[in-house]
Symmetry: C2
Subunit: 516 residues, 2 copies
């Protein structure tokens, strides 16, 4: 691994640290139950994070449900009858392979461990193992150097070949040390660990009362397909959309809010005739790409992965992953999957209830096929924040250079649309006028009134939380510099830092045109 | 219990049955995982229910957070470190008393069982027990009649005195039959049953990995108090608001969505100085009563219960319950509670982290007091539906009497604000014009396009789901009856069933004034 690569990894870690730190400092994201040491894989959204997340979910609901004739919403329970998860296959197969370190009792996802043979001076000196990361080859090499030093072994270290633990033979597995150990054979055999959180419903903890926190929102939609058809008079092709929490007991939650144990999904199951499946898959991919552009994630930062057949589920008729260039790597934001009629067929089999659709015009009966655009709320919020984060060096009012941290949110996503500042807080006419302006804007957008400190500092505070506009009420506004400028305000734009003089009477229209 | 009371109970049951049936038929509320026999205490919201619930939550968020300078939002995880629930007292004391029927294994909440002595002809013939209900005295009397008949006992049955099982002496308890049995002593001793759902976080099911699904949203707010203070620059008095799911493993879920195992809360913790607590309690009560009026629940249907000191928690400085006249009885919608500084003090003790507030102006340090308005989302949705439900007998176009079912939602809450109907679906000019009108309105409100059946039937369908306005595009609109009427539509109002002729150019403003 080259030095250049390593230093760019480092830069990306620094960037991610800055983002995590800003998220805490300004109230976007906190560790859940932080004062008790947190809970790994769970996070709370603070005041600004809650607004940002709500803006995202509301915009998705508006564009995917309310703006369309062919999609209706629903809102299902997190706790469902466990037979839902038997039918969906989650009870049987929704698991990750797990191995333990016999020495330290640490647990690892077996598919995230890589090993290499320690070949020094042409001779084998056992194995080393590491957990998956962009720098894992370097880490493995360091471990081999330690073996060399400790054993006083002479000779060159051979070029490393990193292999996945899952592909080791039983003989090799018995000789590979755990990533936490130097002793050979300190990893247990991999075993399957189901990722669903289990709980008991009702006052007895027995098998018949077991259920699970839903690992995805989609199944509630399939299970209610018939009820929605019967109550909505909606005709195929049509979709059912849902936003809600889901839970996966990840062995190794990581990358801030990206891979969490508790997370939120925005999913649509779009039901259609079999022959419409593939064309609709492509149509939904485009619809969803457009959505990301509308919330400020440009097309060039998105990657489309056409998932190869051998990596897809056996029933899948095609899947596109929409990926984003996060600082920690290119990772999935959304899957757009053509699931054929697999899910409805399974639920029909397991429930004994017919889930056929009846075409009123032709009297045809069939189990609809389905295309599923399934997006992660928390991942998208994180992508929006990462995309918005910027630092630039500017010259301040005093002629000094300073770093300006700015979140360049699309105004549509910004938690606060407009800051409202009276120039001075101890001049009652300025304060009263600023409050008037606030009352004009507030019914239409989220605003923030701030009278503390120099206006320049107030700008910086709003820059850092991504507020696209700030309005300052000054002596012109209250008529102290003549009737010409009276009832006008300064509107300062975040990105260009330009200022315009706008009449208060025109302000609402001016801003509404720019923040919707 | 008088006949009159009993028949009014019956009428109320019939009303509730009609509401539950409408909710399923028109897609407001379904049983969760219904095709698998459901899951007791969990329900899914269908297309219209999801919209109604979203309207409620959005309006609460607008009025309680965005419209106010002194409240910020947050959005905490459902899974928190279990020490949160130890500190809050939920691990120790959040339980209901549970008894089992030894004969049938049925489980009951002990505090919902009542018993009476069977005194016939002046002599005692044991006891009977029943579960709490408005008709429980009648049920008990019937059970005594059976004893009389079976034993061939002569004499009058003495007036019944229903006593709570929890107040029975051990000697009486040993003789009382379970509500499911006629044998004496078939109830086990009451024992405490914790209402939190338990689960394990991480790959090992051991004590240190136990946590619980949150039984209330409030604690996440207390736990993040310091982070919110540090990141928001907000000054006391101020509130932190949150909407989210909570879970209670109720022994006996009942009354449709009213008492559920999975439910959603809308809570504010409003932090203040000790001396502000009581005045703020009264202020918040008024604020919240006003909110209910704004969503269509009139003040006269709300009851305010000033909870007596002996029924309040020991730390409480006062609590008002806001109750609504549901068909199944007067029941709590919201609690407005003055919780003193109990919660923050407990979390400071248990976490070892200071949760004091520092007044920047005076340098005073203190643990703030808190007033908590805590509302149930599902309960409020149910109250909105119950309040809106109406049936009236009207004369239809053919001169026949028919029953019109109508949900008289406040337009603000209505899932769909406006129905849009072309008079005929096979006249392309009408359809095209109707689609044009739809595109004008849709960016501003949720609309529903319907071209199926006679207009009268379309009105009825919208009445039944509470759509306040319907717009019909007819031959006048497309200019077939002269230029005078061209580009005008009929707007029909749901409650008065009046029709007005409105220019399309004025339609958006006309409707916006009436649906916001």
């Amino acid at each position: 691994m080259s030095k250049a690569k390593s230093s760019s990894d480092n830069a990306r870690n620094v960037l991610m640290d800055k983002i995590v730190s800003l998220c805490k400092r300004r109230g976007f994201v906190f560790q859940s139950s932080e004062i008790y040491g947190g809970l790994n894989g769970c996070r709370d959204y603070g005041p600004l994070g809650a607004e940002l997340k709500k803006n995202l979910k509301d915009y998705w609901w508006t564009r995917m449900v309310r703006d369309r004739d062919d999609v209706v919403g629903m809102d299902g329970a997190i706790l469902q009858n466990r037979r839902v998860w038997e039918a969906s296959g989650h009870v049987g197969t929704f698991s990750d392979p797990l191995v333990d370190c016999k020495e330290t009792k640490a647990r690892f996802r077996a598919d995230q461990i890589f090993y290499a043979s320690a070949v020094i001076g042409g001779e084998s000196h056992g194995y080393v193992s590491v957990t998956e990361s962009p720098t894992m080859a370097e880490e493995a090499e360091q471990k081999i150097r330690k073996i060399q030093k400790k054993g006083g072994i002479k000779g060159e270290i051979a070029a490393l070949e990193m292999e996945p633990l899952m592909e080791a033979t039983p003989e090799e597995h018995a000789l590979i040390p755990s990533p936490n150990s130097t002793e050979p054979g300190t990893l247990t055999e991999p075993r399957e660990f189901n990722l669903m959180f289990k709980t008991y419903v009702g006052p007895v903890e027995n098998d018949s009362n077991v259920t699970y926190l839903r690992p995805e929102t989609a199944q509630a939609i399939f299970v209610q397909f018939k009820n929605v058809c019967d109550s909505s008079r909606i005709k195929i092709p049509f979709g059912i959309a849902q936003i809600g929490k889901a839970f996966r007991n990840e062995i190794n939650p990581r990358n801030f809010t990206f891979r969490s144990r508790e997370f939120e999904q925005m999913e649509i199951e779009y039901f259609c005739r079999p022959e419409e499946g593939l064309p609709l898959l492509k149509e939904w991919l485009e619809t969803r790409l457009k959505f990301y552009e509308e919330i400020g994630i440009p097309r060039e930062k998105l990657h489309i992965l056409d998932v190869p057949e051998k990596e897809r589920a056996h029933y899948s008729g095609g899947t596109y992953d929409i990926e984003y260039e996060f600082p920690f790597g290119i990772q999935e934001l959304e899957g757009v999957a053509y699931r054929t009629n697999y899910d409805l067929t399974k639920h029909q089999e397991h429930s004994g209830k017919t889930l056929e659709y009846i075409d009123q015009a032709t009297n045809e009966k069939f189990i609809p096929h389905v295309v599923e655009p399934s997006a992660g709320v928390d991942r998208t919020v994180l992508a929006v924040i990462c995309e918005a984060f910027d630092e630039e060096t500017i010259t301040n009012e005093k002629g000094k250079e300073e770093v300006r941290t700015v979140l360049r949110f699309s105004p549509r996503m910004a938690p606060i649309k407009c800051g409202i500042f009276p120039l001075l807080k101890n001049k009652p006419e300025l304060v009263a006028k600023a409050r008037e302006v606030q009352e004009v804007l507030r019914p239409h957008m989220n605003v923030f009134y701030d009278e503390g400190g120099a206006v320049g500092r107030r700008y910086r505070r709003q820059d850092e939380i991504g507020t696209p506009f700030c309005v300052t009420i000054d002596f012109d506004t209250i008529g102290e510099n003549g009737p010409e400028a009276e009832d006008t305000v300064t509107v300062r734009e975040r990105d260009a830092m330009t200022q315009e003089r706008i009449k208060i009477a025109d302000l609402l229209t001016y801003l509404l045109e720019r923040v919707r």
